[in-house]
Point group: C2
Amino acid sequence: MKSEELCPRFESGMELLSKRWTGLIIFRLLEGSQRFSELESSLPISGRLLSERLKELEAAGIATRTVYPDTPVRIEYELTEKGRALHPVITSIREWAEKWVTPDEPAPTK
Amino acid sequence: MKSEELCPRFESGMELLSKRWTGLIIFRLLEGSQRFSELESSLPISGRLLSERLKELEAAGIATRTVYPDTPVRIEYELTEKGRALHPVITSIREWAEKWVTPDEPAPTK
DNA sequence: ATATGAGGTTACGAAAAGTAACAAGTATAT
DNA sequence: ATATACTTGTTACTTTTCGTAACCTCATAT
């Protein structure tokens, strides 16, 4: 278990993106800012994990959290420039998936 | 927790790629076929998980396993066409990481 | 017969994910 | 004043996945 010669930035970035749900959340946020409940209802993720992931994305400088004191309160999550820079990544994954993932492929090996 | 309108292929592909270590393994295999021990020593992953991930990649049609009955036995893992098609994905992640991940960023929020 | 090297597997404790119930803040309705 | 509703989370608890280390198999070499 040594890691020699792996670019540490690549490794670090990969670790971030390879956390479960992160990619799908970013995919959604690339469409524009989203509220907590919008993300929750549009992704197969639970509130607990969504909350956790959004905090991580904030901490990583990929997304921002803005509170609008409407009633009831409205909170919008939005990508930063660093986050929007992930567009090509998401696009290339989608292109690969459209070409190579068969629709009935239910999920990776269980 | 509903998932409406998300392209199921994208979601499925994302789930595959977002499994821990999968990206780094594919990164290595893009450099050419690799033996089990080469992967194990060049990545910070344990034998148990490496074995598990390689089986998943095989099952997903992304990598192949070839046994050469040398002595001691030599087993090579190699990407299929579907696996090699992930080159743009890995490249775009690396480009993003080089531009946006700071070297001291140790790992995503703990 | 014992040792060596590659490629794993097994067993088990630790960490992360999934689920469901509940809580805080604010506004409107009674 | 009290109750109800809505959004955004949090807490408590169970299940799945990960990480570590010890062990196994097969083939040759000593």
